[in-house]
C-alpha cells in the first residue's frame, strides 16, 4: 500500500468511507509528517490533538452507520488568517501574537461540519501582505522545492498562502485553506506544483477571516488536484447571513459536475498577458496549455483585455486603502500586543503598539493606504483606481462575450530564492501581475500545475471564468491536469 500521506482529499475520503483505513490512521500519518517538517516553518501552531479528535469522531460516526460529510476523515491545514475558537490566530503578525479567538470563522466551521480535522494553523505573509512568505513575524516559510543541480538556495513557496502551498506540496496536509486578495492562492499554488482555486467573490464567507482588503478577499482551497479542490470548495462555500457581501446562491455540486470534455467551449487567450520580460518558459507552458485545451475539444479565440497593465497599480491603491482602515482595529486596547511606554498617553500607546506590532511591509501598505485616502488625494488616487477597476471588470465582461474561460499563465516567473526580491517591494508586487485582474473583477480563477522549468521548478497555468462559473473553471482545469501529466514531487530533504 502507498503511504497514506501521498493521498489527496478524494482518496482519503473514499478510503475512510470504505474502511480501507481509519480516519485516525490518516490523522496520525499527517501529524507525523507535520512534526517532522519544522524545517519548512509551514505552521505557526500545530494542533495534532484536534486532528485526532475530528478523526475519532468520523470513525465513530462510520461505525455507527451515520452519513459521513464530504470531507470526512480529511485532516487539513488552516491558514492562520481564519479565526479558530480557542486556538491562537495571528495573521502572522506580532500584533496578534497570543490572540485566542472566542469564535470560529464560517469557512472553518463549514469544514469541520463536513468532517475535516485541523492539523494546525499555517504560516503566511503578515496580514496576507506579500508574495513570497517573507513578511511573517514567525519567520519565512521554506518551499519544499529546490532548484535542480544540487542548489542549496531556499526557495519561496509564494505568498501569502505560503504555509498552505508548502504544507500541501510537502504532503504535510492533503489540502489546506488559502485566501486570495490579489493572487495569494494561485501564485503559491503555481510556485509549489499544486492546485488552488479562488471562487467568485462572495462564494465563501469572509466572517471570521482577518480582513486584508474587504472588497477583494476570498477564501479557497489548495490541494493536489482539481477534484480535491472541487470537493473542498463545496465544503467551504455557502451563503452566510453574517457577511453582507456573501452570495445568496445554492452551492453547486462542483465535484459531481466535473467534466473535462470541452467540446463546444471557447477558450480566450488575452494577448495583453504576453508582457515584456515574461519568462520564455512561462510562455512555452502557455502554448502547451492552449494545445491541451484544443485537444480537449475547445475552440481557441483571441480576446482583448486592454486595461490589464493598469490592474496592478489600481490594486496597489485599493488594497492598501482598505487595509489601512481594516487594520486600524489593532490598537492594543481589546486584544493582542500593547506597547505602553512609560508615561505615555492613549495616542502614544497606539503609535508605539502599531510600530512594534506591524512588520515593514504592513507599515508600508498602511502608509500608502492612509496617504491615498487622505484629504486632497482621495479622488486622484482612490476614485481613479475604482474607475479603473470598473474598466478592468468591463474588459472581462466583453471578453466573456466571445469565450467561456480565459487561459493565461499564473505568474510571470517560477519560484525565486528567498531574499532575492525582498528588498525591492515593486519587483515583488509584479509577481501578481497576472493574478490581480481577476481579483479586481471578483471572478473565479484557478492555478493548475503544468510542468517544471529548466531548473526543475513547477509552473502553473491560470484559468479565469465568468462570475459564478466555478464549474467552467474547474472543468478546463481538469482538462489541463489530465494532459499535463504533472508528477514531479519535491525531494523530502527536510526530514
Amino acid at each position: 500500500m502507498t503511504d497514506i500521506t501521498d493521498l489527496g482529499v478524494a482518496a482519503i475520503r473514499t478510503g475512510v468511507a470504505q474502511g480501507d483505513f481509519s480516519a485516525r490512521e490518516v490523522a496520525e500519518g499527517f501529524n507525523a509528517n507535520v512534526a517532522a517538517a519544522s524545517a519548512l516553518n509551514a505552521f505557526i501552531v500545530t494542533t495534532p490533538e484536534k486532528a485526532l479528535e475530528a478523526a475519532d469522531k468520523v470513525d465513530a460516526d462510520r461505525a455507527a452507520g451515520k452519513t459521513l460529510g464530504s470531507m470526512a476523515g480529511v485532516p487539513i491545514g488552516m491558514k492562520d488568517l481564519f479565526a479558530t475558537d480557542g486556538v491562537q490566530t495571528t495573521a502572522a503578525s506580532h500584533i496578534l501574537e497570543g490572540f485566542v479567538p472566542q469564535y470560529e470563522s464560517t469557512v472553518s466551521s463549514n469544514l469541520w461540519a463536513a468532517g475535516a480535522g485541523m492539523l494546525g494553523k499555517l504560516n503566511l505573509d503578515q496580514f496576507a501582505m506579500g508574495s513570497s512568505n517573507e513578511t511573517s513575524y514567525f519567520g519565512n516559510v521554506i518551499s519544499p522545492w529546490k532548484r535542480s543541480g544540487g542548489s542549496n538556495a531556499q526557495m519561496s513557496p509564494g505568498g501569502s498562502s505560503g504555509g498552505s502551498s508548502t504544507a500541501v506540496s510537502a504532503r504535510l496536509a492533503p489540502a489546506a485553506t488559502g485566501t486570495d486578495t490579489g493572487g495569494s492562492i494561485r501564485q503559491p499554488a503555481a510556485f509549489t506544483g499544486i492546485t488552488g482555486i479562488k471562487p467568485t467573490y462572495g462564494r465563501c464567507s469572509r466572517w471570521g477571516v482577518v480582513a486584508f482588503a474587504s472588497s477583494l478577499d476570498q477564501a479557497g482551497p489548495m490541494a493536489h488536484d482539481v477534484r480535491d479542490c472541487a470537493i473542498m470548495l463545496g465544503a467551504m462555500a455557502g451563503f452566510d447571513p453574517k457577511d453582507s457581501t456573501s452570495l445568496d446562491l445554492p452551492v453547486p455540486d462542483w465535484e459531481g459536475e466535473l467534466n473535462s470534455d470541452l467540446k463546444g467551449k471557447r477558450v480566450g487567450i488575452p494577448r495583453e498577458y504576453r508582457m515584456d520580460g515574461t519568462d520564455p518558459e512561462i510562455l512555452k507552458s502557455w502554448d502547451d496549455g492552449i494545445a491541451w485545451l484544443k485537444d480537449a475539444g475547445a475552440e481557441v479565440v483571441d480576446v482583448r483585455l486592454p486595461n490589464t497593465k493598469y490592474a496592478l497599480p489600481a490594486y496597489y491603491i485599493i488594497a492598501p486603502a482598505e487595509a489601512s482602515s481594516n487594520l486600524a482595529r489593532y490598537d492594543g486596547v481589546r486584544y493582542g500586543l500593547r506597547d505602553l511606554p512609560e508615561g505615555s498617553g492613549l495616542q502614544d500607546m497606539y503609535a508605539a503598539t502599531r510600530a512594534e506590532g506591524f512588520g515593514d511591509e504592513v507599515k508600508r501598505r498602511v502608509l500608502i493606504g492612509t496617504y491615498v485616502l487622505s484629504a486632497g488625494y482621495y479622488d486622484a488616487y482612490y476614485t481613479q483606481a475604482q474607475k479603473i477597476r470598473a474598466l478592468v471588470a468591463k474588459d472581462f465582461e466583453d471578453a466573456f462575450q466571445k469565450c467561456d474561460v480565459i487561459l493565461a499563465p499564473t505568474t510571470p516567473t517560477a519560484s525565486f530564492g528567498l531574499g532575492e526580491k525582498s528588498d525591492d517591494p515593486l519587483a515583488m508586487y509584479l509577481n501578481d501581475v497576472f493574478a490581480v485582474p481577476a481579483s479586481l473583477a471578483g471572478l473565479p480563477a484557478m492555478s493548475v500545475p503544468c510542468g517544471v522549468n529548466g531548473e526543475g521548478l513547477p509552473l502553473g497555468l491560470q484559468i479565469i471564468g465568468r462570475a459564478f462559473d466555478e464549474q467552467g473553471v474547474l472543468n478546463a482545469g481538469l482538462a489541463i491536469e489530465e494532459r499535463a501529466n504533472f508528477t514531479a514531487k519535491p525531494d523530502r530533504w527536510w526530514v
Binding site: 472566542q102 462572495g202 493598469y310 492613549l346 503609535a351 476614485t383 471578483g442
Partner: protein, 100 residues
C-alpha cells in the same frame, strides 16, 4: 506627486505608527517608488466611468431587528469580549488615562 519626509511623518502620525527619523528617511524613497508607479493610472481617460461600488452585482440585504439573534452577532458575552484584553478591570477595558 511625491512625498517628503515631513509628509511621511504626517501620514505615519495619522496612521498611528511611531517612526523614528531613520525609518522615515528610509520610507520616503520606498513610498515614492510605489506612488510614482501607481501614478500611471492618471493616463487612463475615465470620463463617464462610474467608480466600482460592488464587485459582483448584489445589493444590501437587511436583517430583522432581533436581539441576540445569533451568539456570533449578539451581546451577553462579556467574558469572551474581554478574554484577550491587555488590561481589564471591573468589566471594563483599561486604557491610559485620557484627558479631554
Amino acid at each position: 506627486m511625491s512625498v517628503d519626509k515631513q509628509t511621511v511623518a504626517k501620514i505615519a502620525s495619522l496612521a498611528r505608527i511611531q517612526m523614528g527619523d531613520a525609518e522615515l528617511e528610509r520610507m520616503v524613497p520606498e513610498l515614492n517608488n510605489i506612488l510614482n508607479w501607481v501614478e500611471q493610472l492618471g493616463e487612463v481617460d475615465c470620463s463617464g466611468v462610474e467608480p466600482m461600488t460592488a464587485v459582483i452585482p448584489n445589493t444590501l440585504r437587511l436583517r430583522d431587528d432581533v436581539v441576540n439573534a445569533d451568539p456570533l452577532t449578539g451581546g451577553d458575552r462579556r467574558d469572551d469580549i474581554l478574554a484577550n484584553a491587555p488590561a481589564r478591570e471591573h468589566g471594563f477595558f483599561g486604557v491610559p488615562k485620557v484627558i479631554e
